[in-house]
Symmetry: C2
Subunit: 323 residues, 2 copies
């Protein structure tokens, strides 16, 4: 059973099963290209637009795989998580499609807009104090009261198998890729990418991109063990969380390199992508482009898949308009 | 010869010839759909994404048709215009692809960013004073000195035939459309839409959308003759120009209705499109969605093609962040 597996048990069959399971609930998102960015980088870039995905981010793949993989008995009690970002939206969306409850524990201090978005997808919010102790205590209460199944945002093999469907689609959409690059926070997308590519196309290089100011994955990669930072500060707010054992397995086994970029490089790459490609992307998804621009020699002449992970951004607080 | 034609002489063969001529230089832009907007409007909407077009707007279709339709002899002297918006960018792009000069007369007071964008596409700028008198005088000098061919932004049959290729693509991309809606300023896109649909699919309704504050097309449509406003003020800055005889021919003959929306409705529709569809669109392209939301009964239950005309917007001055 997937939910008692560890990451290293996952096989390509789990990815294929995930894709069959979630297909009715997700988009096969398009690939966009940009002659401007190709000229700028000297590479051929293929942007996998998960910002156009249901609930606005790739996370709906993993969340849907977890939700629709539950037995009817387990599903009845619903699912639960304590993310306040895209995973909470995605899990609420997937639970809504299955018609089961989704419980989300969020700090009472979280922005109203985020709470409204979770409720908009049908999530049931229980508020906690803005501390780890309170969050864990409240989450334990919610789980005890409801019996809901915990779906971790990234350290769950069911979630990793779901995220892996993104690169499965890319392989059928883009021929002869030399490399794939994706942002890394907790490592769910990168682990899924490793799972698919190590099985189906092991020659394709896998680059993980993260902010200089939240470079725990880069330091972990070089040290050979997980290094977790306490509350890093970066505009790429989806990338602040640390690796965990299931994602570390993939990062340490299959990633080619972890590249980093500064806050200004991330903001510039984000704005340039909006300006030239006319797509709305989150700061986190600008990190791969920022690292490509910082390290052109790594990518020049290559056909590179770039995962645009999501497009949920507060249009009233764009980073280039903030002092 | 197309350049001595008037609008009413245009046939569907001119549109097909235009499409063959410009295909190597433009994108066949994708159609996006949104379950959110379908639920909100009760219609099935098919967004033709010309914001992803070369130079960021549909205007590259008409400009390319004009540029690549010139004889070698005429082309040698280049092309000229006095637009400072998307037409100037598009004409510069097309001229660059043919390797001929493009002269653009712009007020010296135009924003530096706009001048830089035109230069970025290879346009040669001659500055005038910010008055019609100066613009006309300077433009006449440039034409006399260079012999460049004037390409009007919309009142030129070559341009109308080029814009008509957009709905030609839509017909092959979307089955059984009941209606098409596009913004109307000078009427180039709407005229092209009329040209294609009146010939190939005359049952499809054609709606033109414009701001309440620049509703000259709506008033012209109801009056039965061209009414031109002097310097209307609207956030939809692509839609301030008046109809001219060649576009009036199509508007008066084939348009089903001209619908309007308020400034706030346009800004709200623009922001909502960015938030939900994750695409960058200009204020002008939000006008159709704003009019659909104002007149849901007109569109409910219909399959509607919505032309997203362009995505060139100043990210430092988004209308919802301005007081």
């Amino acid at each position: 059973m997937l939910d008692s597996m560890i990451g290293s048990d996952l096989t390509i069959d789990d990815v294929r099963a995930a894709h069959d399971r979630i297909k009715p609930y997700i988009h096969e998102t398009p690939i966009l290209t940009s002659s401007y960015f190709n000229a700028l980088t000297g590479a051929e870039l293929f942007f996998k637009c998960e910002n156009f995905q249901k609930a606005g981010a790739f996370k709906v793949r993993g969340a849907s795989n977890a939700v629709f993989g539950l037995s009817d008995e387990m599903a009845e009690k619903g699912v639960a998580t304590h993310s306040s970002g895209n995973h909470a939206l995605s899990l609420s969306y997937a639970a809504g499609r299955r018609g089961i409850p989704c419980h989300v524990v969020m700090p009472r201090t979280a922005p109203e807009a985020k709470k409204a978005a979770v409720r908009g997808y049908g999530g049931i919010i229980t508020e906690c104090e803005p501390s780890t102790t309170s969050r864990e205590a409240v989450f334990a209460e919610v789980q005890a009261a409801t019996g809901a199944e915990f779906v971790h945002p990234y350290n769950d093999p069911r979630v990793i198998a779901g995220q892996a469907t993104c690169s499965l689609e890319m392989l059928s959409q883009v021929e002869n890729m030399d490399a794939v690059i994706a942002p890394i926070g907790g490592g769910g997308m990168i682990s899924g990418t490793c799972l698919t590519l190590s099985n189906l196309a092991p020659k394709i290089e896998i680059y993980a991109a993260e902010p200089d100011q939240a470079d725990d994955a880069a330091r972990s990669f070089r040290a050979g063990h997980i290094i977790a930072d306490d509350a890093p500060v970066t505009v790429a707010d989806g990338l602040k969380v640390p690796l965990k054992e299931n994602t570390w397995h993939f990062v340490s086994s299959f990633v080619t390199d972890v590249l980093t970029a500064s806050e200004q490089e991330i903001i510039d790459a984000m704005k340039l992508t909006w300006e030239r490609m006319k797509i709305v992307i989150e700061p986190s998804c600008a990190v791969p482009m920022a690292t490509i621009l910082r390290n052109p020699e790594v990518f020049r002449g290559k056909r590179v898949g770039v995962v645009i992970t999501g497009g949920n951004v507060d249009l009233d607080k764009l980073p280039w308009t903030l002092g």
